[in-house]
Symmetry: C2
Subunit: 398 residues, 2 copies
Amino acid sequence: MSCWLSGIDVDRYFDLRRGIDGYINIHPLQRGGMLPSDTKKTVLEFADGYSVCDYCLGDLHKTKRPPVSTFREDMAKFLGMDDCRFTHGAREGKFMVMHSIAKPGDTVIVDSLSHYSTYVAAERAGLNVVEVSNKGFPTYEVEFERYAEKIEEVSDRTRKPPVLIVLTHVDNQFGNVGDAKRVGEICKKYGVPFLLNGAYSVGRLPVSGRRAHADFVVASGHKSMASCGPSGVLATTDEWAETVFRKSKIVGNLTGKRFPIKEVELLGCTVRGLPLVSLMVSFPHVVERIKHWEDEVDKARRFIKTVERVNGVRKLGVRPHGHDIIDFDSPSFHTVSQKHRQRGYFLYHELKKRGIVGIAPGKTQRFHISTYGLTVEEVEKVANAFLEMAEKYKIAIK
Amino acid sequence: MSCWLSGIDVDRYFDLRRGIDGYINIHPLQRGGMLPSDTKKTVLEFADGYSVCDYCLGDLHKTKRPPVSTFREDMAKFLGMDDCRFTHGAREGKFMVMHSIAKPGDTVIVDSLSHYSTYVAAERAGLNVVEVSNKGFPTYEVEFERYAEKIEEVSDRTRKPPVLIVLTHVDNQFGNVGDAKRVGEICKKYGVPFLLNGAYSVGRLPVSGRRAHADFVVASGHKSMASCGPSGVLATTDEWAETVFRKSKIVGNLTGKRFPIKEVELLGCTVRGLPLVSLMVSFPHVVERIKHWEDEVDKARRFIKTVERVNGVRKLGVRPHGHDIIDFDSPSFHTVSQKHRQRGYFLYHELKKRGIVGIAPGKTQRFHISTYGLTVEEVEKVANAFLEMAEKYKIAIK
């Protein structure tokens, strides 16, 4: 039986560990997705495969126990939208929208700070992407005033209005906070559907899709809602719900089987499993934490202020900084790396020695971190680590 | 700030419980997805959002820690295929294949025991579905001999060969085990790509895609590989890998950004999070357990033998039974329900009183269970519960 199984060494999959226990983790992808301790308790309860399906009657989003049904309503309210579905993440939500409302060859307008998954979702849906420029170094601020001209340009050139505008609410590189309301107003004026990508905003800061005139909001559980991956939300308005959440109409040609409660873009159900439960159990925590967003911004600004005392280190992006994701330009650390035995890895190792993980190994010209959810003491410890390293490697401190 | 947040009652999301602790669970969706205790230990370690991305360099499937990179190779070997990717489940794999190799309007041939998600995946991809008949009550055996004529029929009628044949290896209703090799040989003869849906076979019984002449195998972690949902695998051959796992070619029109390592159908990464880790940590257990598949079949057969002693109760599907999923026709219990105070719910409640959960509440005309992974004593306890209920409600026992 097992001839083709030879050569499989299963030993390497026993007892996997992340190896970061006890470290301060400043990984910009990870800070917003850490589970509160209450959620961790529930994780084991629902760890088995199809654990959310104990009482399901065929539609995940109508399940009463666990209360997915009310959660759907509460999540839609939380996002200031009419309805929503749970997804595997923001990117899957973007593809669901594009695949539902566009045809191959249509054009979507995106900001030039978009996450790669916005481009790849458009590519998967066969769409052309047109970018809205940003101001480049050092602010990289998206030129929001150009949305109107871009819409007109696409309409003129392709003889069809763009099928969708996607705005990255907070970009993953610089932590710039986009002017969602302004873009939403332009979209409304031109009658172009507007998708707000809240992967790094929803669950961190207050976001109301309605106030931004958004037709769609996508969000990420693992990135910003204190949840297990893969999890996310796609929210929309009553106007679009029937299109994006359209029900199956297929009929078996011999059996006559129909699946009228199954939603096509969801393939029936989406995030059937533990990540959905984590999203639910973390929800009270998330609803509370967004009220304290200003404290997070203050922490990030204090961190920037300290780290910028190191000569040659400068935060990139818009000022004043309005998010916890921070990208630093650091030619002075880069100069050190060129003569260091560990080359570009020295920064990573120096931080690890100080109990800090989460920056990309090998990079010194730029480094990219998040302070989200750290205590004031932890933020100070991380900031001081940069001062200590500057001192050690004889970089001037202002 | 929070005006739109009013009306959200977060209290209902605290401390969610399944409420089935200590019960024997015979839910046919769930038996194959239960986590071994070793995997549960690791679950907490990787519960935080993007926990698999600590050391990722941009391609999930090449990550070395946790060892996704070798796991991909080992999983491909396990399935007897050349390469694979991890997905959110079998249905997502089916859609990825259909969306990659077919064009809207093309035809896919499916067996008439297909899971609804096969139909809905085809619908999402804009494909027409043609079913291969089954023999109906009581065996519901798919008429494998008809695949050749169906291929010819579609080719004649649409002037194009079917773009794909999908075979449900084990169907979710009757637990019939399809003749994959036979269908694979027909597909090979006609040169039609063949997708084997192993949602209820891979991880339970030995499955070699190569032996079945499969071009694609999809599998489900939460259904049959002792893993958290949502998780799955899409495996293929070298011939198809470049098509289905094609890399992004999109270029930002202003920024010139490219994402050449990102795979389009995966939207870059797929099951980024805990479910992938559970698939990995359960893998040694799964590789071992498929060697004991015959014991599982024996258990199921013994169970059927006992329960069929109840007058009027009969297992549906092919005989001898070859799987742990069992669908019983039970007109005698149904007759009881018509006079019972709890109507169709009595069976559910009688079982629950006896420490057994997992049958659909309200149904008595048919009931649908799985014995997978139960101990011999548990199987006996469940079987005896049906005898006790027969006795209590004065149904003859043979």
